[in-house]
Amino acid sequence: MLKFTEEHEWLKVEGGVATVGITEHAAGQLGDLVFVELPEAGATFSKGDSAATVESVKAASDVYCPLDGEIVEINQAIVDDPSLVNSDPQGAAWFFKLKLADPRSADNLLDEAAYKELVG
């Protein structure tokens, strides 16, 4: 089941590891992405830290770490082709995999229905 943050990240948690990306809503708002900067595997972040940067033609935006954890894998495909984030934001264009410091911490995030209500 997907979880969501109010900052427009989605997470899919499996075995204590969250696959993280940005939502379809966020990708639509950002417009055509032309550059993605991802963290390095092994980096640790706290919830709310800026973990990645996406840039459209017009502007740069932060992607926040949704929970405390360690980056265990990044998706090089979106670095090589940032437009993937626009075409498949909640599928092939995941950003990174995060080993959660507390595997239960995702429980408090929004579910899909609550997120949809948030973005209207």
């Binding site: 417009g31 055509d32 032309v34 550059f35 840039e55 459209s56 033609v57 017009k58």
Partner: protein, 379 residues
């Protein structure tokens, strides 16, 4: 944040909404930043075919000499701009600058000689100040009118001429910076062969009552796509053209901004009407002695855009700051990051490698000739 309820609408506002325009506050107006196709496609379409822009937020001003002699209006305006206005032939247009007593730039503008009056187009954010400045400077000899009953659109790109030719065949005989009056669908418009994308194209001033009709008919052409502010900005940046408030402002002089070409010989030292504009002492001294900094083009290596506000350094460790970026982003036609900024003159030569601070890293950047894309004006 500007409150949306207070934002001014251009005559084309409803049309933007019907076209799916994503509206944002800009200079007190609610304007489309992009449409459904997005900034990248809009940008590339303009370079490949024709893009249509609503620039009705810009100020259109008429200066009419009380004497009836256009030369009197030209000479009066020359007291405010370092531009050869007197030598501007009827039916011709020229880029100009309002300067202040310190040599800084108050606004940039277009000046057209329309036979019995001068027709100016100024920036939206500056238009009220420009109008007051003109009234104060020229009011004794000229009637100055800020037009509030006209829309302004720009049709830009390699197909612009063919598209407009279907409405008015004579447009093909216009050269870059010609200005003419013509009927498009029985609406009398003022057309100049100019624009701010680096492409051949036209700016068309239309009476408000007919603005939607004329614009809609142009948009019906299969080669024409509506273009928002996002692509407008990336196009002008690739073209190396200054955005007022970013690349030029009251703290930059024309010579620092590499806009010497906008000051004709007649207004420079030794010219027949040298000086006589605000800041002339400093600006003419800079022609002779140079400046300590210059506006330059910047090509960042790699893919990361370098945005306006980034600090520039001479070294990869970020110890010797030498300037800053004023406009930067991704150039869709270049397929890479492009930027402009000011650097100390010693580092301003084309090919000089410098470094830009982006998120704590120092990225290599090469000082590059402007424009980044070849201009295709029909001279």
């Amino acid at each position: 944040m500007e409150s949306n309820s207070r934002l001014i609408h251009t005559p084309l506002h409803a049309l933007h909404l019907s076209l799916g325009g994503r509206m944002v506050p800009f200079a007190g107006y609610e304007m489309p930043v992009q449409y459904a196709d997005g900034v990248l496609k809009e940008h590339l379409h303009t370079r490949a075919a024709a893009g249509l822009f609503d620039v009705s937020h810009m100020g259109q001003i008429i200066i009419r000499p009380k004497s009836g002699r256009i030369a009197d209006a030209a000479l009066a305006l020359e007291r405010l701009v370092p531009v050869d206005v007197l030598g501007l032939a009827e039916g011709r247009q020229r880029y100009g600058l309002f300067t202040n007593p310190d040599g800084g730039i108050l606004d940039d503008l277009m000046i057209a000689n329309r036979g019995d009056h001068l027709f100016l187009v100024v920036n939206a954010a500056c238009k009220d100040a420009d109008f007051a400045h003109l009234k104060e400077g020229l009011g004794d000899s000229c009637d100055v009118t800020l037009l509030d009953d006209r829309a302004l659109i720009a049709l830009q790109g390699p197909h612009a001429e063919a598209v407009l030719c279907e409405l008015w065949a004579d447009v093909a005989s216009m050269r870059f910076m010609d200005v003419a009056e013509a009927d498009l669908h029985d609406v009398t418009c003022i057309i100049s062969r100019s624009g701010y994308t680096g492409e051949d194209g036209f700016e068309i001033s239309i009476p408000t009552a007919s603005a939607v009709d004329v614009t809609q008919r142009l948009l019906e052409h299969p080669d024409v796509l509506a273009i928002g502010l996002g692509a407008r900005d990336s196009l002008r940046l690739e073209a190396g053209l200054c955005l007022y408030g970013n690349d030029i402002d009251t703290g930059t002089t024309p010579v620092e901004a590499a806009l010497e070409w906008a000051i004709q010989k007649s207004r420079r030292a030794g010219g027949e009407r040298a000086g006589g504009f605000p800041g002339a002492d400093r600006i003419l001294a800079e022609f002779a002695g140079g400046t300590s900094r210059r506006r330059v083009g910047l090509r960042p290596e790699g893919r990361a855009p370098v945005r306006g506000g980034a600090t520039l350094f001479a070294d990869a460790d970020g110890t010797v700051p030498i300037g800053s970026v004023t406009s930067g982003g991704f150039g869709p036609s270049i397929d890479g990051p492009v930027a402009m900024g000011y650097v100390e003159t010693a580092h301003a030569g084309n090919g000089t490698q410098i470094f830009a601070e982006v998120r704590g890293k120092y990225l290599p950047v090469t000082v590059s000739a402007l424009p980044f894309v070849k201009q295709t004006y029909k001279r």
